[in-house]
Amino acid sequence: MIEGILIGLTTALTFQNIFMVMIGCFFGTIIGMLPGLGPMTAIALMIPITYGFDPATGLILMAGVYYGAVFGGSTSSILLNAPGVPGTVATSFDGYPMAQQGKAGKALAIAAWSSFAGGTLSAIYLLFMAPSLSKVSLSFRSPDYFALMILGLTAIAAFSSKGQFLKAMMMVVLGLMLASVGQDSLSDITRFTFDNMNLTDGISFVLVVMATFAMSEALTIILKRNDPTAAAKQVSLTELGSIKINKEERGKMYKTIPRSSVIGFLIGVLPGAGATIASFLAYGMERNLVKDEEKEKFGKGSVNGLSAPETANNAACSGSFVPMLTLGIPGSGTTAVMLGALLGFGIQPGPRLYMTNPEIFWAVIMSMYIGMVILLILNLPLIPYIARILAVPKNYLIPLILFFSITGIYVMSFNNFDIYLMIGIAVVATFLRLYDFPMPPLILAFVLGGLMEENLRRSLLLSNGSWEFLWNRTLTVCIFATTILIVLWHIYKTLTKNKS
């Protein structure tokens, strides 16, 4: 492991990679601040740029964007009560009241330090857990992988759909259907191309991500007459106050951070869960654990109430890398985008990644530490200025997002058809978004589609066409049992909600 850490440090500490982390954190913070534009959009917009780099640098850049976007979301939660990303909703519960009391600077400092501590601690957990889990996952066979993918897709549908499980499952099926377009990987038979040569290689992953996130989010903002930058214009007038944290507040944070980082990391590891659930759970747990006197302050500007979700959401980001790096199965929409980008580089993440490409595996983990330090240095003194940059009117912001999306596709294929296809998918996605059809399950399904078919093919061929493989191995049965439990829990939740 020491050797790996050294390889990772050597790769991550090159001038180019440190610069990339800085750019990623800065860009991510800006995009993450804008309500409606989350880390997935930020990463999707970065994909074309990463093609100019080697895979390690590309992934380091995307990881920096991810942390930056999560932290940027916290800033808008605290200053504007407008969470940039769902994972920072819980931050606004105590962050915004604190800002209203004239302690915005302090709230930002608490959030920055909590994010830093949460991210750093979870990177340490990842450091120890990922290689061990990689070794365990070497014993996984095709049926287990197939079961794991079903679990991942069901979990993301259950957790990301705000009670609309069936809608999310429809999006999963749509994602798998889009992934099935083009040549069959084994027989080279073309499917669903309707004799169109442009579809022979299938639909590009970048195209689907750009269409369903960047472009469709831009169109939704125009369609709904939202102005994500309007509230930011008031920030320059806001008195931020001191960013110093006193001894008593530090004492509270020392207790909150370790436990919230553990819960955040563990939730992040689970497929489909992620930063939103982690931050809410950490907030709830913290409220139950503090003294009654502190409990009263929750929702009115509590230090514990702000520190807990901030620690947990950053820890969950690192946790979500575990299934992607060790199993090759992303646990969230954001890591699905990164997985797709890695596949684009010709790298197959999975249990063997840390043996075949140690420089990528360890460099990403090491870049997390560096990213956290940079975020801290960047965010504390620069946040008021970054927030002012956000006052760029949407009249400029939207065309620029469209420009980055179309450029991303253009540099990939030099093909008009891909641009038309992207616009078509974006229009459909915008309409579906209006009726709360979630997009992350579609992306995860699109990324996993090929792998899922491959593992089902191997399982069925090995069992001579029999579906016995589903219950022949204890591990497969356990994974399927977890999937069934998630579905049953969701049905129970829906039924109780309907009754109430």
Partner: protein, 156 residues
């Protein structure tokens, strides 16, 4: 059964799944693969049935969380214009080239979204695209096809 837009979308998805399933059955496989446990049409067939299952359930089951969208409050005109500009951009980018079409796309988009400060619009279109092109083409070595710049001798 209460008919709302979500149900109509589910119905459309049901029809789409049925079409997908029909097309899946039409996939030509090799003769020796016809009776294999798994061939090129197996996975799509399962997918088609899964699509029918979930959209069918959504159609049949009651929908307590009906989402109401106020269409009168939606900005269809500007969105439509923006999509149209993007289509024209897509249609001309290969023939005219990246620099000119992208700059014009940005300039017209700013205009149709209500911006009128011409200097700022110009600054954030032509020089901005030139700088971005330099980053992609000059620094990152990502090839950008541009017949217009080639014609006037700026690009090799």
């Amino acid at each position: 059964m209460n008919i709302n837009t979500t149900k109509i979308i589910s119905l459309l998805f049901f029809i789409f799944s049925a079409f997908y399933l029909y097309t899946a059955y039409q996939i030509q496989v090799f003769a020796f693969d016809e009776n294999a446990p798994f061939n090129a049409r197996t996975f799509p067939i399962y997918l088609g049935y899964t699509g029918l299952f979930f959209s069918g359930l959504k159609l049949i089951l009651p929908d307590p969380d009906t989402i109401k969208v106020e269409h009168r409050n939606l900005e269809y005109k500007k969105t439509g214009i923006l999509i149209l500009i993007a289509i024209i951009y897509g249609a001309t980018i290969l023939k005219i080239g990246y620099f000119l079409t992208t700059s014009l796309f940005l300039f017209t988009s700013y205009y149709f979204l209500g911006e009128r400060r011409l200097f700022l619009m110009f600054l954030l279109s032509f020089p901005f695209v030139a700088a971005f092109m330099y980053l992609l083409h000059g620094v990152l070595d990502i090839y950008l096809r541009d017949p217009f710049l080639k014609y006037i001798g700026v690009m090799g």
